[in-house]
Amino acid sequence: MLTRDPTTSRPLLHTSYRSDMALFDTRTKRNAVVLIVLFGLSLPLLLPDPDLRLLSTASVFAIGAIGLGLLTGSAGQISLGHAFFLGVGCYAAAVISGDPDGRAIGFGITEILIWLPAAGLVAAAVGVLIAPLATRLRGLYLAIVTLGLVFVGEHLFEQWRVVTGGARAGRPAPEPVLFGYPLHVDGLFTRQQQLFWLMFVLLVIFALLARNLSRSAVGRAFNAVRDRDIAAGVIGVNLVKYKTIAFAISSFYAGCAGALLYVIIGHVNPTEFNLLLSVLFIAMVLVGGVGTISGAIAGAFFITLLGRFTEQVGPMLPLISARSHETPNVFQMQNVLYALLIIGFLLFEPRGLFGIWFRIRNWWKAFPFSY
């Protein structure tokens, strides 16, 4: 009944700031994360390849969504230009790992430990270049400027054929080789199993890093900037510095997500990085829950799985065609559905899926009272 150290058995008794802001501040949280990770790692042995492919895609989307969540949710900088940074990362990786004898330029370095960070860094560097805009603008104006970024990017990617292969033709995606072991061809396990493990482990790493960031001084500075940038400036938060950091980190995540996304598909077309992709990420962040890591992950999985769901259910509905040249078709229906979801969540559950979870948790947290 009496434990030696009272702090271990009393979750609210914090005797240091370290315990107050620990990564996993309760034992339940830590255990839940360990269980989820173990469950995720065992999935390739349980599910068929097509489903794994879908989950791999969702994992990569989650990495990108975490990046946007840090920028938009934590630091409050609305960006519609996420797709552009995805493209930058993707082409940086493709150039580094590309075939030196191929149609587009490439350096033939297929080691993922080299091209993945490089993709992130190139995107981050571009993000830092964009950041000065954000330090002068905010809210709607920033959204418009980043929107312009997407169109500039789309044009650039289509025209810069040496790097992108040009519209419609495209170029092969980067090849993931880990310590000389190619993950993208069937080996010890099938291609999809290996890729899922890769993407899932990367998601866990990126999520933990982001979670760690948001509990640090940088994370608190982000929140201060989000809540009121003038007030944050007054209490000593360097706005230029933290907005730049936010853009750099968000772009880094986007770049990595871009590089990984097309590994799964195997081929990358420059027209992919359009406004719709940006909106898709906004939808993930909003549906999942603004300002939370787990919300961004939940949103990414929700939106990705929703896409598969509509593809399967859509054709069964009357009037909806599965072919893209007929109207109305499944893909249009998907877009309408995303729009409805964004509107619905903003109206009825502004804190997203995470907000729903939050309310369930608070119901039990206050039990047997209501407050």
Partner: protein, 627 residues
């Protein structure tokens, strides 16, 4: 009756032939368990830990500072502060210097500060902050013996106050450190001279009538109290130990909080956690989850009322579950009352299910998840309140004691609880009921007398060493004592009936809606009452009924509220004999307050002051009788 002897003092016997005091106990703990936590206090959101080694080191520094300031054996050092580590440090340092501590209630107004400081003749006065310092400086000229004032929290003071006697806590520590370097053995030598009849502390009793009297407790008194509790004869079994957690939030100048905080800490090694303030007790309890919890009836009643309001305001599914488990708790409570606090197989099984479904969550919210001994004392409490807490699984023990006997006389004990009584004599305490019904107590913890008031001392002690408690009581089953009332509160009606008002008052105060009930009727033809509502609960009740109100007075004079109170009075009247029934009542127009002289520092009603202040209400109660 219990016949446990006090255990031998710990470890010090062979070291040197000194008397064991709280100071030597802390010194020994600092030597044997230097890195264990002695106390915690919350600062900037974090519970900062103070180890035994640090505690003892600071005590020595402050002790040296006291020596440097010329504190001689027998001198008085006053403390005017909320509970915080510096309170304990000053208390023990004073004891080490063989001087006596005088505690002042933080709520004491300047006039009472003047009385206490001048009557005690304190040489050094330690104040917490600007508020208390202002009181001390206002009355400085009335206290000729006062030479030094030390302030702990410099906010608003540093650089703005100029006074020759003024010194900050940091300056005190610096002075102590310098003295310690120059005379490293001075304090140890002073401690070695300690004798069992040194006056450790002068505790001013709040006094519902007349000015406060200073009860002197000696080293031997305190040691008796510590040893009695350490022997496990009290409410905690096993006795309090180093792994027990305590929340310290009641005024430390009262003997009970001193027992739990300072004496249990030094004597048993219990970890003391200082609440941020009286307003944050509930969240602090939830954080600390103490294992031993003392409180006064007022706070137990408030907790119960809080539970009832919050449950009433909960969503429907939560209300339904609550209603069910409260009914079960009622049954468990009834059974425990019958068995004296021991579970039967049936209650244990039912409670185990309830623990998973409801009680665990409730107790965690209340901060009583780990409480193994909850104690109520310092004033009479309604048995229904105790039964509620027993029902939800908190072992509740009502205890009885007073400043003059170092808070040791009787307590209910695990497995032998009799509700409505204050329990059995503790350890070596002798308790008897005199022919006139007054309870007498005799044991080594009985005080050395009132400071500078031999007359009052003579009135309180019998010739053969028995302490007159002033409480009227009787034996129940020959083992447990039941207190009827304070002797001076007994009402004799015009019809010649003796009536104990506190029983009627407590029966009414069980209701969450009532905070103060004062029964009147001495020399009158029938009983009446002045009643004050519990503002929070009645406000919530009024809101649920969509009743508009503005102030306390407005709310308490609403016809609906008077109707509510009338129904509560009627309900209690049914259980009382005709002469004990309350025929009429009036609502108090304001919340009673220490500052206005209506309550004592311990929130007890000053009946005399009240009857005077609300004379018009009282007259009104009796004038209208012919109509």
């Amino acid at each position: 009756m219990t016949t446990t002897t006090a255990p031998a003092p710990q470890t010090t016997a062979e070291r040197q032939p000194t008397t064991t005091t709280l100071a030597t106990r802390i010194r020994d703990r600092a030597a044997t368990q230097p890195d264990q936590v002695a106390m915690r206090h919350k600062d900037l959101g974090i519970w900062r830990e103070i180890t035994w080694a640090t505690y003892w080191d600071t005590v020595q520094t402050v002790g040296h500072a006291l020596l440097d300031m010329g504190v001689e054996p027998g001198d008085r050092v006053a403390i005017h502060s909320e509970n915080r580590p510096e309170w304990l440090v000053t208390d023990i340092a004073t004891l080490a210097a063989r001087a006596s501590t005088v505690g002042l209630y933080p709520t004491n107004p300047a006039a009472e500060v003047a009385y206490l400081l001048s009557h005690s003749g304190a040489k050094v006065h330690v104040v917490e902050d600007q508020e208390q310092l202002d009181k001390a400086l206002a009355v400085f000229d009335d206290c000729p013996e006062l030479t030094h004032i030390v302030y702990v929290d410099p906010r608003g003071i540093k650089g703005r106050y100029q006074h020759p006697a003024l010194m900050s806590w940091d300056e005190l520590l610096a002075r102590g450190a310098a003295h310690r370097q120059a005379h490293p053995d001075a304090l140890a030598e002073r401690m070695a001279e300690a004798a069992p009849d040194d006056i450790v502390t002068i505790i001013y009793t709040s006094g519902t009538t007349g000015p406060p009297k200073g009860a002197m407790l000696t080293v031997a008194n305190v040691e008796f109290a510590v040893n009695t509790h350490a022997a496990g004869t009290g409410f905690a079994n096993p006795p309090p130990g180093p792994y027990d957690m305590l929340l310290s939030y009641l005024p430390l100048c009262h003997v009970v909080e001193r027992t739990f905080t300072t004496w249990f800490n030094a004597g048993a090694g219990i970890q003391v956690n200082f609440a941020e303030s009286i307003a944050t007790v509930q969240p602090n309890l939830a954080e600390i989850q103490p294992t031993i919890l003392f409180s006064v009836p007022r706070i137990w009643e408030k907790m119960l009322a809080g539970v009832q309001i919050r449950l009433a305001n909960a969503t429907l599914p939560k209300r339904v579950t609550a209603r069910f488990w409260l009914k079960v708790a009622d049954w468990i409570g009834d059974t425990l009352v019958r068995t004296g606090g021991s579970h039967t197989v049936a209650t244990r099984l039912v409670y185990a299910v309830g623990w998973v479904c409801w009680y665990r969550a409730l107790r965690t919210r209340l901060g009583m998840r780990r409480v193994r001994a909850a104690v109520s004392g310092a004033a009479p409490i309604a048995p229904e309140v105790l039964k509620f807490f027993m029902g939800i699984g908190v072992p509740m023990y009502e205890a009885y004691g007073m400043t003059e006997n170092a808070a040791i006389s009787t307590a209910n004990q695990p497995g032998r609880v009799k509700l409505g009584t204050v329990g059995e004599p503790l350890g070596d305490a002798e308790v008897r009921v005199a022919d006139d019904g007054e309870i007498l107590v005799r044991h080594p913890g009985v005080f050395a007398g009132y400071f500078r008031d031999p007359e009052a001392t003579a009135r309180t002690m019998t010739d053969d060493g028995w302490l007159r408690t002033g409480d009227i009581g009787e034996w129940i089953d020959g083992t447990h004592i039941k207190i009827t009332d304070r002797a001076k509160d007994i009402i004799i009606t015009a019809g010649g009936k003796n009536i104990a008002p506190s029983e009627i008052e407590n029966a009414l105060k069980t209701s969450p809606f009532l905070k103060e009930v004062v029964v009147i009727g001495d020399g009158r033809p029938y009983l009446t009452a002045l009643i004050g509502i519990e503002f929070d609960t009645v406000a919530a009740w009024a809101q649920r009924r969509k009743l508009d109100f503005t102030t306390y007075r407005d709310l308490s004079e609403k016809p609906e509220v008077i109707e509510l109170v009338q129904s509560l009075v009627d309900e209690v009247n049914q259980r009382l004999a005709t002469v004990e029934q309350i025929k009429k009542f009036r609502m108090l127009p304001k919340e009673l307050d220490h500052e206005d002289g209506e309550l004592t520092a311990t929130q007890k009603v000053k009946r005399g002051a009240l009857a005077e202040r609300f004379a018009d209400l009282v007259d009104d109660l009796y004038r209208n009788r012919d109509r």
